[in-house]
Amino acid sequence: MSRPNRSEIDTLIDLLARLPGLGPRSARRAVLFLIRKRGILLQPLAEAMQAVAQNARECLNCGNVGTTEICEICSDDTRANGLLCVVEDVADLWAMERAGAFRGRYHVLGGTLSALDGVGPDELRIPQLKDRIAGEEITEVILALNQTVDGQTTAHYIADQIEDRVALSSLAQGVPIGGELDYLDDGTIGAALNARKRL
């Protein structure tokens, strides 16, 4: 392989610098690192990226990102247990999957309602959500949205649209696992107190 010239490397740096959490400086370091590990990292990475670029797509049903038209979760019949977990984006879905605690299906909204950002109900996958509740015999919708103003606005909006068709729930708020009370903010402590359980 010929030695890549400066401008190709610069292009790579510029592209990497656009990734969330990376800037020009960290992109330069990453590229140098990759070039040093060309055989064991850069080449496999290039191939993996090529493959993903060709095959990645959004699941037509839930909005998850995978390599098939209908994602693995939506094709898995054992996950049709009547529970549907609504999340803001794919990263949240993957976080839930990493936790491994949820065995139902998901619905990815693709954002939150925000008039300021020009995102209305039609820009989110809310119509599809309504269709799925009927089509997949959903018995409970879990709204796993962020505790931000936009997240809670969206949760409220969706709840209002579907509350007469299906049972609704949201994630509990409170003391995180391993959390020490002394380090929690007042809001978290208040929420945990409100969501207390009888022993």
């Binding site: 309602l113 925000s114 008039a115 409220h156 909006y157 809001g187």
Partner: protein
């Protein structure tokens, strides 16, 4: 006692590099006009959430003409608890906060420090627009309720969303209801916090021996009555939609609250009092707030009193210093000359600020 122990400023306004070591006693700062005294206590005001005592942008705080970035560090101590706090602002972006080396949101400052201030532009607070009184009230409220900062941000965010819906003349009632639910939830917190801060200040005034006149305070509204509870606020917002579309903004809610003050001993509204009385009422409130906090949390707040001494006669000044001394507050006070701080005696430390070729020079005495 909550106090700053070590403060450094770098490229902050007129200070290119300043380093100050202080103990828990009051800090008397003197020097000629324009030397950089207010700039120094503005830096201290940033140890609480918000834009500081001038409400300036981070960009304005960058030393001109270079306008690079600026940095402030400080060691905050309260009893055995010490926190290293650092602020940096680059490229005009609002300040990044680290607490003990870890990035933290600005609102986290409210949990480790409390800062109250009185600056000359507040002299007209009682007679000017409600915004100033609301800010004063919210600063006091924040000192009691650190979560007030986040509730305020959330309320304002929800309101900006609603105002956008109004401007775009969106007709989706469900969308309004969802946004209004957030405004009502956070707005009820704001009102409850404000009410209970006023109650604490009233109690602190009642119990105090002070040379300054008590003020009766009442939470009022610039418009129709503002419902206090979440359900009432939600209903009022829903009801106000048509009117608000016409106005292009939200006309009801705690963002339209006002603070009504009365010179208690005379029964006269603060706005009708003499200039000197109006100022005395503000000093009295700051002191009452500090006393209430000291009783609540065991530590009085940091006080920033800009040019306060100059407008008091010698007797009142001595009384102010005695009350600050009794509180044990680290009060940062500015004035043009050392004679203004004579009555403090050994009870304070002194900094002189002078200007040399456009740069502030801070010298401990």
């Amino acid at each position: 006692m909550l106090h700053l122990e070590h403060l450094t400023l770098s490229h902050f306004r007129s200070h290119r590099r300043a380093e100050v070591h202080v103990d828990a006693r009051p800090v008397a700062i003197y020097g000629p006009n324009g030397a950089g005294k207010t700039n120094l206590i503005e830096a201290v005001s940033l140890f609480s959430p918000g834009r500081g005592l001038r409400r300036a942008s981070a960009q304005e705080m960058a030393r001109r003409p270079e306008s690079l970035g600026w940095k402030i560090t400080g060691m905050l101590r309260a009893g055995g608890d010490a926190h290293e706090v650092a602020f940096t602002s680059e490229g005009g972006a609002s300040r990044n906060v680290t607490i003990d080396g870890k990035p933290a949101p600005q609102t986290a400052l409210g949990r480790i420090s409390r800062v109250l201030w009185l600056i000359p532009s507040m002299d007209r607070l009682w007679i000017e627009a409600p915004e100033g009184r609301r800010r004063f009230l919210d600063r006091m409220t924040l000192s009691f309720f650190p979560d007030h900062a986040q509730a305020t941000l959330d309320y304002e965010k929800a309101m900006r969303e609603r105002n956008r819906l109004l401007k775009d003349e969106v007709r989706d009632a469900g969308w309004y209801a969802a946004v209004e639910a957030q405004m009502a939830r956070t707005g009820a917190v704001l009102t409850a916090n404000r009410q209970s801060a006023l109650a604490r200040i009233a109690a602190a005034q009642a119990g105090a021996e002070t040379a300054f006149p008590a003020a009766d305070l009442e939470l009022t509204s610039t418009e129709a009555d503002i419902p206090e509870d979440e359900a009432g606020l939600r209903a009022a917002l829903a009801e106000s939609r048509f009117r608000d579309i016409a106005a292009g903004r939200t006309l009801v809610g705690p963002h339209r609250a006002d603070l009504y003050g009365v010179f208690a001993a005379k029964g006269i509204p603060a706005s009708d009092c003499s200039t000197g009385e109006q100022k005395a009422l503000l000093i009295s409130l700051i002191l009452a707030n500090a006393r209430a906090l000291a009783a609540d949390t065991g530590a009085p707040p940091l006080l920033l009193l800009d040019e306060v001494a100059a407008h008091l006669d010698a007797g009142r000044r001595a009384a102010l210093y005695a009350e600050i001394g009794a509180l044990g507050a680290q009060a940062w006070m500015t004035g043009t000359g050392p004679e203004l701080f004579e009555e403090l005696g050994e009870g304070a430390q002194r900094l002189e600020v002078t200007e040399d070729a456009g740069l502030s020079v801070v010298r401990a005495l």
